[in-house]
Amino acid sequence: MEEDDWILIERAMQGEEEAFSMLYKRYYSFLFNYLLKLTLDEQISADISQDTMLKAYLRLHTFRGDSKFSTWLISIASRVYVDKKRKEKRDINLMKQMKVILSRQLKWKSDQLQMEWSDYFAEFNQLETSIKMPILLHYYYGYTYEEIGEMLKVKAGTVKSRVHYGIKNVRKEMNRIE
């Protein structure tokens, strides 16, 4: 962990609001971008980012510094997102009928920037959160299966099998389309 981060965390723990504000500015975008990759919705990502930062602020004294501050934030955000999904379980049938796609605002922005998305990306976004999350953390953020297991409170073996299952499924769907 950066020494600078640790100093800010200690100052924020002592109640210095300016230090917390600096931490917030430093990590909000990182957190928001992580959630955007999972939710594909800016509003939901913003809500969860805010929830996560507040939770981190209130529980700052529990942060021991044995991992990076960003890792700690990602693990809180992941759990907040999973809880939110669980609460939405009532609407699961409705969700199953709809394909998970970019939010309207996000689509408008990506069209404006003339961005195109791969077919793999479309298939990846159809996976369940519990599968999507470890794939993103492993292949994009470079976390090991053990680290992801600790973050999501599951066994490393489970993480590994979820990653393999998810990738296999995406490939299978792609082969079916072709």
């Binding site: 500015k25 971008n33 507040l54 602020y57 922005k109 791969s118 990306f121 794939i135």
Partner: protein, 106 residues
């Protein structure tokens, strides 16, 4: 490199490229004014949480104190009387303090 490895590599590379694009969109979405608002809101929430914790601590400490006094005096009547006085008196003091605070700030 086997065909399967090639496929796997291509899949991961494509996903990484798409996630990079999402980063680009995300970075544009978060601006300084928005962050300031969020920080202020978080600070307010923290103050609210701390106040709640403080009141809870106050109520439980008053209860424990009264119970201890009652045990020392070995009188149930003393317990009830002190409890009633506190239940009426504490909110009244709080109300008066808040009123004074409002007067000072206005």
């Amino acid at each position: 490199m086997s065909e399967q490895d090639k496929d796997h590599r291509q899949l991961v590379q494509s996903l990484k490229a798409d996630w990079e694009k999402l980063n680009q969109i995300g970075d544009e979405w978060v601006d300084a004014a928005y962050l300031e608002r969020q920080i202020q809101q978080a600070q307010k929430e923290k103050q609210r949480a701390m106040k709640k914790e403080f009141y809870l601590f106050l109520v439980s400490s008053v209860f424990i104190m009264i119970a201890t006094i009652a045990v020392i005096l070995q009188s149930f009547h003393a317990f009830v009387i002190i409890q009633c006085v506190t239940l009426v008196g504490a909110p009244l003091i709080l109300f008066l303090l808040n009123k004074r605070k409002k007067k000072v700030t206005s």
